[in-house]
């Protein structure tokens, strides 16, 4: 199957005009968005996220490297036939109605009017804007404009949806609805690239994320992998005092109480040894979960490390308070 989106060493330098200093907005960005996944693009302001999205859609031209949409260069209109796009900070014509915008989007995507009418109604209802469809966009709140923007991006049933700050200005109810729409699209096998500052939402919706900083990719990975804290586990159950000091070659206890133990195991296989040893000490284990941090913590650490020149993700245990055995957290 053709990969919906692939960039290879994509770079973009904005020239500063005569005598001006150019700004390198993207530096050798290589990433792939696989079919059926929700991919998040994260980064601080000025990281190059919007430049990357615009390069992907040929709205700006890359300086070097390449980009492919379904195996075709984005300058090829056929490549964009399968793409729906919601722009950041869009300002659609104020004297146009929501329905008019959706219809225009459909027409520009090559759809016939009866199909546009049918699908437009369904989408306007889906984004909760059917009641307001015949009101001029100039009278919409930002959240309403975003919802209509979602409908216009989806009108031609695209296989790849590119959303630049889709929940910007949308109230919590609207955010939840947009998140649901994205999840529904995933269930239909669609692919989405989401550029967002709303890290909690990205963490909940996205399968994989790329974190950009100063035009470079700091990391790409599954959300669960990025937020997992390596060899740290939280074990709940019922524990005797003797469980507080396992052999050093198996694990180190980070925190201990009679109901929960947080431990760092010596290696990937040691978790089995630890549970066996705990049972041997008379413990009753109810659950075992790998400790994780929020995506926001990971994001802040990565950006801070990039700023200070420290490479990689700092081990999260450094931030975890180590308590003496027997002391409750």
């Amino acid at each position: 199957m053709t990969i919906p989106l692939r960039t290879t060493s994509l770079s973009k330098t904005y020239h500063g005009g005569i005598g001006g200093k150019g700004v390198q907005a993207l530096k050798n960005v290589s990433l792939e968005v696989h079919s059926g996944e929700i991919f998040g693009l994260l980064g601080p302001n000025g990281a190059g996220k919007t430049t990357l999205v615009k390069s992907i859609l040929n709205i700006i031209q890359q300086t070097s490297g390449s980009c492919e949409l379904f195996g075709l260069p984005p300058s090829n209109p056929k490549a964009r036939q399968k793409v729906g796009y919601l722009q950041e900070n869009h300002r659609f014509r104020r004297n146009m109605t929501g329905r008019g915008l959706v219809t225009l989007s459909g027409r520009l995507s090559g759809m016939k009017d009866p199909e546009i009418r049918e699908r437009g109604e369904m989408l306007l209802e889906k984004v909760g804007m059917l009641e307001w469809a015949d009101v001029k966009i100039g009278k919409y709140s930002k959240g309403m404009a975003q919802r209509v923007g979602m409908a216009q991006a989806l009108i031609h049933n695209p296989d790849l949806l590119i959303l630049d700050e889709p929940t910007d200005g949308v109230d919590p109810v609207g955010r939840a609805e947009i998140a649901k729409i994205i999840r529904d699209l995933k269930a239909e096998g669609k692919t989405a690239l989401i550029n967002s500052h709303a890290l909690a939402e990205v963490e909940n919706i996205c399968d994989r994320v790329a974190i950009l900083n100063q035009g470079s990719v700091l990391t790409i990975g599954n959300v669960s992998d990025l937020t997992a804290i390596g060899l740290e586990y939280s074990i709940s159950g019922s524990f005797a005092e003797t469980c507080a000091q396992p052999p050093a070659e198996i694990a180190t206890i980070i925190s201990f109480s009679s109901k929960e133990i947080v431990a760092r195991v010596a290696n990937d296989d040691a978790i089995d040894s630890l549970t066996d040893w705990l049972r041997g000490q008379g413990a009753s284990i109810r659950s075992l979960t790998q400790s994780s941090r929020s995506l926001e913590t990971v994001f802040l650490e990565l950006v801070e490390n990039a700023r200070t020149g420290v490479g990689g993700i700092r081990p999260s245990a450094d931030k975890t308070q180590v308590l003496p055995a027997g002391e409750e957290r």
């Binding site: 964009r80 793409v83 216009q152």
Partner: protein
Amino acid sequence: MFRGLLLLAFFGTVKSRLMYLYGIVLLVWVGALFVINNATIELNMASNASINGVGAFSGIPSLASALIFLSVFGVSRKIPEMIKPTLAGFYLSKPLSRTGFLSYTILANTLVFSFLILLLLGIYGAFLSQLFPFHISGAEIIKQLFLEVIVFVIYVPLISFLGLITRSGSFAFLITFAVWLVAKILALEEMRGFLSLLDNNLMTQIADVAYYILPRSSDISSMLATAKTVGSDSLNWSALLTSTLSAVGVYSLAVLKFRKMDL
């Protein structure tokens, strides 16, 4: 896709405040016709018309100039509006090449504004024919109407190109107005005389080149009148030819520029 852009251009224009100005201009000209008619100067008009058939529809070029002015103003805003960073992504993410998008946009706006000019001039022409039925040939009016529309059409690529490079409707309009003014001055017989007085070969050559490169709106607009004045049955098409070539050249520049633009 073209249909989408055509309807967008049509409804965008019809719903704009510019339509009030079109209405006011038409009312002023039609009102002037009635005033002239009621002032019982038919005899003078008739004598003028019989001497020179052009005189009877001299109101058309002046109305056309006003309508072209408004239309150029209207078109000047279209391209900069569509390439605004807050809207460009919407259009450029659609499955349409940049050349196609620009060409369709220019064509759609040209058709819409040409239709408006033709419609309003037609309404005026209908009044004119009713009020002065003996002195004006319908065929002559129709030919003149089309020439006025051509004058507008040859300016559209220029204003679109200027809109692309300045990204401002106001700047594009002002520069186009300046171009129109220069072309108008260069077309004056007095200017020819003035340049010959200067005895500066370089200046004369620059003026000659500019005269043929810039849209020759005055010459096109007065093609019929000139033919009648010199008593010739055939029209001099050179103004139309050079202006069309110039418009095609500017359109090509606009396409080349747009294909490489970051929006």
